[in-house]
Amino acid sequence: MVATQGLGRTFGSGEGAVQALQELTLEVRRGEVFGLLGHNGAGKTTTVRLLNGVLRSSSGSARVLGLDPREDGPALRARSGVLTETPALDERLAVQETLELFGRIYGLRSIAAAARATELLREFGLEGRAREPVGTLSKGMKQRLALARTLVHEPDLLFLDEPTAGLDPVASREVHDLIRTLTRDERRTVVLCTHNLVEAQRLCTRVAVLQNGALVAQGTPAELSQRLQRGREVHLEVPAERVSAAAEALRTALDGRRVAHIGAGATPGTLLLEGAAPEAVAEAVAALVAAGIPVYAAGPHEADLEDAYFALMDAPTHGNGAP
């Protein structure tokens, strides 16, 4: 569906040149939700622009839907849809008019464009606002309208750039449901640009992590988590005021035999035993109970995509990051 080989783009020239994307090699398969993760300025939007023939690459090559974005931009864009980071809606137009005009730009006749607009407004719950100016819509409604516009020509491939940015949890969940629906039965492929790691973990079948224009890792969220899992970790919850006492009791009881490091966890009342062997869980709980410290919870701590992401960001650049 999408394949790039050493794709790169440099803005400017000479000393002021900025390498926005370098040596990007990845593949997106039909029907998957592929996540492009990275901080602002990591190269996600540049990648989307290159893959749609909006920007021309400085190096490397790409095939999208079997087409070369540099040569076949219009044909490619007729089959792809892009939700931009800002909704890019003109607030002077009415809601239905927005979809109708884009339908006509995509080659629909007036009657067909009106029918498609009506259908999308119904699907996105905006039919009651059809005649109102876009400027009167809430932020969530505008995002829904922008998503509807992205689908007006029924694209095979969708690029969604921060689709839930600024949305409340309910609206975000609706967008997530929509993405799942779009990719059901592999009917559509979605490239999801996000720095929302929870969103990526929930939705993406595979992800690529970009940092300063370079690919630092790619794979399934589980693969990335496992790669970053340096050893087993045990997570304990005790009364917050007794964390220090609990840590001391554990150091004495375990005496460094099965645990590399004992420290406070990220939230109050938690302890993390790094490099702990499985039998250390029972020993730790027994030691705490013997010391008179209640144990509210104990169990292995599995790294998730968020842990993996921040570990990658903290690490030196990994080169091309192939899995």
């Binding site: 803005f11 622009r49 749609n52 023939g53 909006v54 920007l55 021309r56 931009g73 219009p74 044909a75 490619l76 864009r77 007729a78 792809s80 849809g81 892009v82 931009t84 800002t86 890019a88 809606l89 003109d90 607030e91 002077r92 137009l93 008019e97 005009l101 884009f102 339908g103 006509r104 730009i105 995509y106 080659g107 629909l108 006749r109 009657i111 067909a112 029918a115 498609r116 259908e119 999308l120 699907e123 996105f124 719950g125 829904r144 922008a146 998503l147 516009r149 689908l151 007006v152 020509h153 029924e154 609206a171 609706e174 967008v175 449901d177 929509l178 629906t181 779009l182 009917r187 559509r188």
Partner: protein, 291 residues
């Protein structure tokens, strides 16, 4: 998003998007036109300025002459003006009553180059909103992802600025001729307009002047971030027209039909050069790189 159950409807439902590439430029132009006409900042000058030139100025002259009579003639210092006039113009006025001379001089001659401000202003205002305004509103990016070519996007924006500018010029000539003739007929006893000079100006020079305003505004828009900046900076192109008006009033310049044909031809050449440069600055890559 009450039920995103089937966002991919079947083409059989009447929305086949793949079979037909319609007249995309017209669709783009329709969108731009709808957006432009939705802005009071754009529409107010587009209505008020033509109204002033086409109706209020000739009617104002009629009212002044009617109320002021000979005092207006003396105040206009017509004799001195005639002395400064180039010979062909002076001969056109010879033998006419002073009030008729004033009518021919102001309505038929001095207003002619001033009328060119109309297409220039209309094209510049619309182009400033369509190019720089779209950048300011951050709505251009959605268009960049549509299956349009750079030339189609650029062409649509040119159409949206040029067609109204030419329509205002040609429509303006019809209305202005009717008003000017109604004002001048009681003194001239014949129709004053349209005459060959006005026809050349409006049919040949005015579209070229609109193209000039458009071309300059396109170039300015590539370097500024707002509609107001583009409109104000692009407005400097009106200075040659002001100079032409002043030159005519001072008797330094005489704009006849031949001169208008030559000026128009030069402007068309300049327009083509400006459009070529403008199109280069309007490539997707350039626009996205600046975004």
């Amino acid at each position: 998003m009450s039920r995103p159950a089937s966002p991919r409807s079947s083409p059989a439902q009447g929305t086949d998007t793949r079979r037909r590439r319609g007249p995309v430029v017209w669709a783009l132009a329709a969108r731009d036109l709808r957006i432009v006409t939705g802005s009071s900042a754009v529409m107010i000058p587009l209505i008020v300025v033509p109204l002033v030139f086409v109706v209020l100025l000739p009617v104002g002259l009629a009212v002044a002459v009617h109320l002021g009579g000979s005092a207006v003639i003396e105040g206009a210092n017509l004799a001195a003006s005639l002395e400064r006039m180039p010979l062909p113009m002076a001969s056109r006025l010879a033998g006419l009553e002073p009030i008729a001379q004033l009518m021919v001089l102001v309505l038929g001659y001095l207003m002619a180059p001033m009328f060119l401000i109309l297409p220039l202003m209309v094209a510049s205002v619309i182009a400033a909103d369509s190019f720089a305004g779209e950048k300011e509103r951050k709505t251009l990016e959605a268009l960049l992802y549509t299956p349009t070519s750079d030339v189609e996007l650029f062409g649509a924006k040119l159409l949206v600025a040029l067609v109204p500018a030419i329509a205002v010029s040609w429509g303006g000539l019809l209305i202005y001729s009717a008003v000017a003739d109604a004002v001048a007929y009681p003194y001239l006893h014949r129709l004053l307009l349209p005459d060959p000079l006005w026809l050349v100006l409006v049919l040949w020079v005015a579209p070229a002047v609109a193209g000039l305003g458009l071309g300059v505004t396109v170039l300015v828009s590539a370097r500024v971030r707002s509609f107001q900046e583009a409109y104000q900076l692009g407005g400097v192109v009106v200075l040659p027209i002001i100079a032409l008006v002043a030159g005519q009033a001072a008797g330094v310049v005489y704009l006849d039909t031949v001169a208008a044909l030559v000026v128009g031809a030069l402007l068309w050449v300049l327009d083509v050069a400006l459009m070529a440069v403008g199109l280069r600055s309007f490539s997707r890559d350039a626009l996205a790189s600046r975004a």
